[in-house]
Amino acid sequence: MGARIEAAAALTSHGWRKATARRLADAAAQACLAHAGKGPGDVDMLINAGVYREDNMGEPALAALIQEDIGANLGQPPVGGQGTFSFDLINGTCGVISAIQLESGLLRSGVIRLGAIVTSDVDPQLQDPGTAPFRPAGGAMLLGWDDTGAGFTDFAAETYPEYQDLFASGLVWQERQGLRAPRRAAGRSQMVIDARPGYHARLVDCAEESAHRFLRRLGMGIGEIDLLVPAPSSPDFLDALRLRLGVPGDRVAYVAEDLAGAYTSGPIAGLQAAIRSGRLGEARNTLMLAAGAGITVALALYRRAPGPAASC
């Protein structure tokens, strides 16, 4: 028994006049619901795991705005109705796997029946525009429960705080230069992303170590993994990790070219690629792996139901 992927959708802002984190997440969520043949009112829980936004809104949770935009259980709570519970989860590129773990548990308990996870990142207005280490993208996936033995069954998350300074980001106040005048901004909070040399190499080291430990805990070898869904998808991470783990290229879910460089949406982009190619339905065991700041490595095992390959 496990949490089954009902649908996954990832998209970029290609062709849009202006990309915002909310619009990207809205579009991904709506595409995902359409793929699954579900309505917004079916969503019991909506977790937004995106990080970088154009406005850096502090509250409410962006998830609440997305819930309103897609029309999930709005209006006054009637007796006998069913609501949606929305919040944001922040764990960088590992956020999607953290959210999957939480929703899988709540599906198992029967507290929710359909969970949505949405993500999006846009350029957070860095001092040097266009230097964000990711491409604007949005993603969404839906999880339901499966009694047949398929779905997400096992999770792990590990941190390597000795490398916590290799990648850090945050808002830093910058005073406006020049004469101060009433009604003029005194300054602005500037997003600063500090990525140091060696970060991606250490990501590979940590991801390899955590993946081996996870599989050992499950009594599995890397040869039993039919499909690897890794994030981030940048070649300096992905190719090195694949070689270190000894996973052949035909067992890796490579994302579509336009989604290469997606940040928190990376794991969903990988799942979308795996679903579209039919390989997720064919693979007996799929390993999702995400590595990011912290250094944090998150892992999830997705099992196919016993029997012939299924479509997803």
Partner: protein, 370 residues
């Protein structure tokens, strides 16, 4: 098809957890910790700093006499870490026992960053307190963040996936007050609520309890039709943020919509509202709490025995208010063993969350005996 646990009741608007037949364990609040900055700021002092002559009688309107505010070297991180340490000091657990740590503050200041994004603040907190092996992530759900964390840990604990977790929040949020003070002109300003804020850190440890014990019911929902009634962004007036709140509409909606949700929760617990010994609501203003309580009483035909208001000395400490209040009442011996407590979170979104539990041996670790 739903999972194997207690199952979602079709009549519930809330996502609800209660000790169902499928859960092998209960989940209890084991300890609560608080970290308050040493520096205090009275409402009179704050209002004397406004750029415009506002004529706002803030203390009379809100019941807030003073609030704690951070001093040099303090941040969301130091408040969260201090609260986590205080929580451990009141706990039977050691830091290595914590299997999951969730940081839930709206503000995430640390070092030179007024708001950190990566790595998550929870990583730094778990390192600072020695909970290195805990799985960690941050969560953002406005003022309902801490109770949201408890909701998530409850599921992991009652299913037996973990046995002990911590939710922590460090709110250095008084910069919103200073930024509002520079711009506010009258009582009708959308920044009025920013003047009520105070700084505080809070932490709570939840642990495995015998089946049927611990938290009787916990539930959450998001009334997203009203998601834009309170919005906060980075400020251009000064460091930190600015918040714009349609306070009257928010209060009206909360009173209208919350009553049936309270009825759901107390119905799930199989009790009446007057079986609640202490209702601890989100602390916004004394007047709003009084109005809300009266509305519940009218609609539900009963009222809790006591309604906790601690605004006078803390103000609105955002995501920490419920646990700052619970800690104070435990510390002062006002809540006693056997008392039934209801926590009621109300936050931008609109997020509404509630938890009902009975005080047990955790009370032994507070007050003069500690």
């Amino acid at each position: 098809m739903a999972g194997t646990g207690s199952g979602r009741h079709p009549d519930h608007w809330l996502a609800l957890q209660s000790p169902g037949s499928g859960s092998p364990w209960g989940c209890r609040i084991e300890s609560v910790g608080v970290k308050l900055p040493g520096q205090r700021l009275t409402t009179r002092e704050l209002m004397s700093q406004t750029s415009h002559r506002t004529r706002i009688q803030l203390e009379r309107l809100t019941g807030i006499h003073e609030r704690h505010v951070v001093g040099p070297g303090e941040s969301s991180f130091t408040l969260a870490t201090g609260a986590a340490r205080d929580c451990l000091a009141h706990s039977q657990h050691q830091a290595p026992d914590i299997e999951m740590l969730i940081s839930t503050s709206i503000t995430r200041s640390r070092g030179r960053c007024s708001q950190s994004f990566e790595p998550p603040l929870s990583l730094y907190v778990k390192q600072a307190i020695g909970a290195a092996q805990a799985v960690n992530f941050d969560l953002s759900n406005a003022c309902a963040g801490m109770l949201t964390g408890v909701f998530l840990l409850q599921d992991l604990i009652t299913r037996g996936e973990i046995s002990c977790g911590m939710v922590v929040s460090g709110e250095y949020i008084s910069h919103l007050s200073w930024n509002a003070a520079r711009q506010i002109r009258s009582v009708f300003s959308k920044q009025l609520a920013s003047l009520t804020l105070g700084d505080a850190g809070a932490a709570v440890i939840v642990e495995r309890a015998p089946k049927g014990g611990g938290i009787e019911v916990i539930g959450f929902t998001t009334l997203a039709e009203h998601s834009r009634l309170c919005l906060a962004f980075p400020s251009t007036v000064g460091p930190g943020g600015q918040m714009y709140t349609k306070s009257r509409t928010l209060q009206k909606v909360a009173i209208e919509d919350m009553a049936p949700l309270v009825a759901e929760v107390i119905g799930e617990a199989g009790i009446d509202l007057d079986d609640i010994d202490y209702l601890i609501p989100h602390q916004t203003s004394a007047r709003a709490i009084r109005t809300g309580t009266e509305a519940f009483a009218r609609r539900l035909g009963a009222r809790p025995k006591h309604v906790v208001v601690n605004l006078e000395e803390y103000g609105n400490t955002s995501s920490t208010t419920l646990f700052v209040a619970l800690h104070k009442y435990l510390q002062e011996g006002r809540i006693r063993k056997g008392d039934r407590v209801m926590l009621l979170a109300l936050a931008s979104g609109i997020e509404i969350g509630m938890a009902i539990f009975t005080i047990d041996s955790q009370v032994d670790h507070y007050g003069r005996t500690h």
